[in-house]
Symmetry: C2
Subunit: 383 residues, 2 copies
């Protein structure tokens, strides 16, 4: 399959002692500096923020979910309303996940066969059928810039034989998705499966790369396996993916995991973590995660993160954010979400700088020591 104008990826620099690389992903709706983190807007919006909030903190890519949007409001309705960019009020780059993970984790009464998967909508109980071709078509109607093939997302733990079968079906579906894909302004990503088995991951990467996609995603990680298992799975996959295509790690977003995966050659990430923990008062700082609901912050006049220049940190104290959290005010969710994403965007910028300067290994070691120290001793965040 020839490269389509939907995506142009340029590697701008490589770290000498890791697989980390800094690059640029051009899409019809703008350019993404990589490594990049995409906040998740499952239903077409990142929870508790407006698109202009996202643009204001430098977010360059948003991940939406084809499965959720197909269930509600429906892909045809999104198309009638002008497509996903119009629905979302976001004119920057958009990625949609195919829904493979969701069909296999959320849908009820699911039956899978070689041709596709039939399931009931959790929204209204209606019966739907996703095939590789249908999911390409759904994403075509939504109109994101970067789209994913339908995959079979292996659960965890899983026996080797079952993981191998899931991966094989994933490859067969990927071939059909590639054949069905004909939108020149959408870049189609293949997805690597294989669970925690490095040889299956390697085989899956080779199989998907052989089909030929504009981008590649590693799926089925961060589903319960250990950090070491995840790292080995990424290593095995990345080493068999083409060097000139961007690599996305699906569903990974803990800062320490991002930092490790970048060292293993991953270019883009998406995860609900920074926004989900925010809505419970969890704030990311360089010294680890702190919980602003903690009574220790009740009279704390300092910003969420003293090194952060985001709107939440320049205008609100920890004590104020805690008050709004306890009072059930949406403002608190907005402020902590905004901060967590600004902080993550800032982390990605530091990552890119470190790679460009050829000192990523040192950056990784220092970050992990600092962040993990805070993460495992949350009280250190309070006075």
């Amino acid at each position: 399959m020839p490269r389509m104008p939907g995506l142009r990826f340029t590697v701008l620099g490589r770290d000498p002692s890791t697989m980390a690389r800094v690059g640029r992903i051009r899409t019809p709706h703008g350019t993404i500096a990589s490594p990049a983190f995409a906040p998740v807007g499952t239903q077409g919006t990142v929870k508790a923020l407006t698109p202009r909030d996202l643009a204001g903190i430098g977010v360059e890519l948003v991940m939406a979910n084809a499965y959720h949007l197909a269930m509600r409001p429906g892909a045809d309705r999104v198309a009638r309303l002008g497509g996903l960019h119009a629905l979302a009020g976001w004119d920057g780059p958009l990625m949609t996940d195919s829904g493979g993970f969701q069909v296999f984790s959320l849908a009820t009464s699911r039956t899978v066969d070689d041709d596709g998967v039939t399931f009931r909508s959790p929204v209204d109980g209606s019966v739907h059928r996703f095939t590789p071709e249908e999911v390409v078509a759904v994403q075509g109607r939504l109109g994101a810039d970067l789209v994913m093939v339908l995959d079979v997302c292996s659960g965890f733990p899983i026996a080797r034989e079952r993981a191998a079968a899931d991966a094989e079906r994933t490859h067969a579906w990927a071939r059909r998705a590639a054949d069905a894909h004909d939108a020149p302004d959408q870049a189609l990503y293949g997805i690597v499966q294989g669970s925690v088995y490095p040889d299956l991951r390697a085989e899956s990467a080779r199989a998907v790369a052989a089909i030929g996609f504009e981008g590649y995603a590693v799926g089925g990680v961060s589903v319960g396996e250990s950090k070491d298992e995840m790292c080995l799975a990424i290593d095995a996959a990345v080493s068999h993916l083409p060097a000139d295509a961007p690599r996305h790690l699906l569903g990974v977003g803990h800062p320490e995991d991002i930092v490790e995966a970048v060292a293993r050659g991953i270019d883009t990430f998406d995860c609900v973590m920074p926004t989900r923990v925010a809505r419970n008062g969890g704030a990311l700082t360089m010294a680890g995660r702190i919980n602003l609901r903690n009574a220790a912050y009740a009279d704390d006049p300092r910003p969420i993160d003293e090194t952060c220049a985001c709107y939440a940190c320049t205008r609100f104290s920890r004590g104020a954010v805690r008050h709004f959290l306890l009072a059930g005010e949406i403002l608190a969710l907005t402020l902590v979400t905004l901060h967590n994403l600004a902080w993550t965007v800032g982390l990605m910028a530091r990552i890119r700088e470190a790679i460009a300067a050829g000192r990523y290994a040192a950056f990784r070691d220092i970050f992990l020591a600092t962040y993990a120290a805070g993460a495992f001793a949350p009280a250190a965040g309070a006075r």
Copy 2:
């Protein structure tokens, strides 16, 4: 009591055929063009918006509630965190209501005597006592620019004798509050009670004006009485209030009520209505209120209000807002709230223009005919 530098009010123009006037209220935190509408941020924030959202649509005054903030996080805590402006992240003019209305409508186990009122906090059941002096002190610790005396807010319906007694106690408390007030950067407002009895309203206005305040509020309206009764109560009060002080109407914010009350000499308003209905999908338009949850809007590509230039109307379709409402996304609450306040701010600007041009009576008639027509035929909002 001498006028304090906490407030300077200038009447810039008067409508020739109504009591409407256009003016400027100077406070230590900025100037308010009047007539003005203050969105309500009960607990220190307007629900679903950030302060920069408010500033962005031209809001010039926010109303917070001393009662709620005294219950949580507590006035001392607010002071320790730098005062209410710092807590709220809002550096424009702030008004706090005294909590009279809340003590008489929300608090449980309430006992009132001549000296004050004792009640339990709905937050944690703790026992509190509000006296006129204590409420002045609480508002001093909060630090709003415009503050209210503690009043006895008459319910509805209420017998004349009871309303007279409530008003008399309100006057006695107003005298004590004026004596206790010594913050030169806070303007203290007296409150007129008297329910739906025009002679009690007139007597209350005379009594409160005789004490001498920097501003005057009309309280105990929009509590169940008819529109005619409310208008008569306002008329009776305003005609006995000094012409050189600003007049606030507590808790009124339906567009048709604002337009009528401006004609009766009211300068500022506060109400939860535009923000509360927004969170249920109710959007204000010049053709009346529409509910965006309605299925009629599912495929509607038009903005909430085709004549509105707010962020919500320039970037999102009705269909998109409906999707986010049905999906339970906070973005929907933010967008409709933003629109309703932008629309109300715009209404106030048109009101000021009409007064300045000396054609307020005509403006009022046209507005009421247009808005009421839409309000009573909501389907007209849909195609």
